[in-house]
Structures are given as structure tokens and as C-alpha cells.
Symmetry: C2
């Protein structure tokens, strides 16, 4: 789908507001003011508030996809290296798109059957499939353990990163990092999380002692 500059401007304002206040907590007048456009433009461009939400979600979903195909199929790379790269890519996606992630968290909790639910389902199923391939390769090569619960493992990766992103202000305070700028704090999070998750995944996956 192609969008004009004005449409993207509206979607970006909407994303921020939806992330902060939720779908029902955000009014179309909020969005119009924040995007600096007249409120009639929302219906004009997107048809409705709901359809704007869906358009924004689908738009961001695209850039939220993990780029794993070529990496998973790469035969030069060690399985554990691939796993580490997956972790870093996931951390990067989430820290770079924290608004969209917060929206995802809200939507995931609703066991819906509409457009958004199927978008999330497709995203998750795709990732799970690719990671299963990655794990199998490591097992076939004898470097990964045999009894690995992939969905549970993913829960730990996604859950840990998600928890840090959604409670970042608490983590920040408890570690006395108020002096850092948002960008510096994001960098701090990335580094810490990366080391932490790699340690855990090595312990779960690796056959070596």
C-alpha cells in the first residue's frame, strides 16, 4: 500500500497516541490536532478511526518483520551465531518501534478475530517457523540440545525484551539512570539485554560444557 506524506503524517500521530492512550482512549480530534490536520481528513483519507488504526497497524507491521530468511539459510554461519543475531535483531526492532510494540501488547491481550488479530497471528507464526528451522539446523549439526521447547524459548526472548520496554521507566529508576537521555538509555538497554539473553540462550541451547 502506498501512502501520501499527509497520510503518513496522520498515521504517525495516531500511532503515538494509540500507544500512549489506547484506541478508545484516543479521539479523532486528538489525532487531528496532533497531526496538525482537520479532523474531517481522517474520514476522508481512511474512512474511519478504526480503518486508520488498521492502516497504521498494517503499515508498521511491514517494517516490524524480522529479516531472517537469508540469515537462516546461510550455510557459512554457525547456528549459535544465527541465534545471537536473531536476538540482536529482535531487540533492535523493539527498541526502535516502542510505540508500535505497546500497541501490539494491548492488541495481543484481546483474543479477537478481526483484521488486527490475523495480522499479529501471521507475524508470530512466521517468526516461529523460521526459528524452528534455525533450532533444527543446530540440532542436526549436534551443537544444540535435543529437547528444546521453541514456543517457550520465544516467550522468554519476547517476554524479557517486551517487559523491559513496557516498564522502562521503572527499570530506569531502579538502576539510577535518570541522568541518561532517552537515546543513551535505549543504548544501555540494548547492550544489557543483548548480553543477558545471549547468556540465557547459550545455557538453554548449547550442548557444549
Amino acid at each position: 500500500m502506498e501512502y501520501s506524506d499527509k497520510q503518513i503524517q496522520i498515521m504517525e500521530a495516531a500511532e503515538k497516541l494509540f500507544a500512549d492512550k489506547g484506541f478508545t482512549g484516543t479521539s479523532v480530534r486528538d489525532i487531528a490536532e496532533s497531526a496538525d490536520i482537520n479532523l474531517a481528513m481522517i474520514s476522508y483519507y481512511f474512512g474511519s478511526k478504526e480503518k486508520l488504526f488498521e492502516a497504521m497497524f498494517a503499515h508498521r507491521s511491514e517494517s516490524f518483520k524480522l529479516q531472517l530468511e537469508t540469515m537462516v539459510q546461510n550455510k557459512e554461519m554457525e547456528p549459535m551465531e544465527k541465534m545471537y543475531q536473531l536476538i540482536d535483531q529482535y531487540i533492535l526492532k523493539l527498541t526502535n518501534q516502542q510505540c508500535f510494540h505497546r500497541i501490539m501488547v494491548r492488541e495481543q491481550m484481546i483474543n479477537g478475530h478481526g483484521f488486527i488479530a490475523s495480522q499479529i497471528h501471521a507475524l508470530k507464526t512466521r517468526n516461529q517457523e523460521l526459528i524452528k528451522q534455525l533450532i533444527k539446523e543446530g540440532q542436526d549439526k549436534g551443537v544444540f540440545k535435543k529437547d528444546i521447547d521453541v514456543p517457550l524459548m520465544m516467550m522468554t526472548m519476547v517476554g524479557t525484551v517486551s517487559q523491559l520496554v513496557t516498564t522502562r521507566h521503572f527499570y530506569r529508576e531502579i538502576n539510577g539512570l535518570q541522568s541518561l537521555s532517552e537515546e543513551e538509555f535505549d543504548q544501555h538497554i540494548k547492550t544489557k539485554l543483548s548480553g543477558h539473553l545471549k547468556k540465557i540462550f547459550k545455557a538453554i541451547l548449547s550442548n557444549e560444557e
Copy 2:
């Protein structure tokens, strides 16, 4: 705070709706119908929708507290055993109060400064403090590693359980567990999570090889 049966009846209906549809997504008329009372009773008993939310939250917060004090101070118990017990207790709390947890997840994402934010902050700070004690004891006894990032470790415990609870329908489908009843599925989750987290925490914490 003491509440009458009717007040609890209202708070329980409200909790379910707030968990499913969010605060703004839930109308006082929804709550009144679901609790089978006249809508004026909400203002009559609680003052406002907002105050009902706060009352419900504080009420549930009480029973959500981890009971750790006596366990942490127990000198007969091994540190790792305590850690395992903490994990199981946390899993139990979350699976038993999934509605409240979903509300917590929503509220945590808002970096607010009101009543709810301070309730959550108190809950989290208290847990973190007790767990820090637990870790320190293990380190002093020489059974835990020295370089442990307690906040990050907690992110993994809380995050993994939270992720499973908030995306339970997806986890259920991907593992082909649709035939289980909700209760059987909850039991399945508890068992799996317990083993998974204990394995991870042993790897992170234990000094033994």
C-alpha cells in the same frame, strides 16, 4: 478497606471488563449490566468510574502481593530452593489472577504519576528488595554467582510468565492444545513454565557445574 457483597460484585464485573476492553473501552453502563445493578450505584458506592477502578485495583493488589518475607528469612532452606519457590509462587499468582494482570500490563505502559502508578511502583519495589536479599544470601553462601543483574533477571521471570499469559491463545494454538479445558490448559502452562524458568535460573544463578 472493607467492602460489601454488592461492592465486590461490582468490582469483579469491572475487573473482567477493564481487563478485556481497557478503562476507556469500558462504559459504566457495561459494568452496571454485567454486575446486574443500576448504573447509579457505581457513583453511589465509589464516587466515579475512575475511583471504582482505583478501588478495584487496590483491592486486588492486596491479594496479588507475593508472600516472601518468612520464606526469604527461613534459615533452613537452600537459596536455590527459595528461588524455585519464588518462581512457582509468581506463576501461581499470575495464572490465578489473569484479569488483574492484564490490567497491570496496560497500566504499566503508562508512565503516570497518579494512584495506580504508585500502587504498581510499591508492588514492584517491594518484590525487587526481597529478591535482592535472596540473591545476596545465595552469594554470601557461595552457591550463587557474583555478577547477577537482579532487575534484568526479574525482567526474564516476569516477562516470560506475562508473555505466556497475555498471548495464551496463540501458545495454545501453536501447541495444538485446543482440546484442553481452560483449567487443564492453565495447569499445563504452570507445569511447563515452572520447569522452563527453573532451568534458566539455575543456569544464571548457580555456581556449580
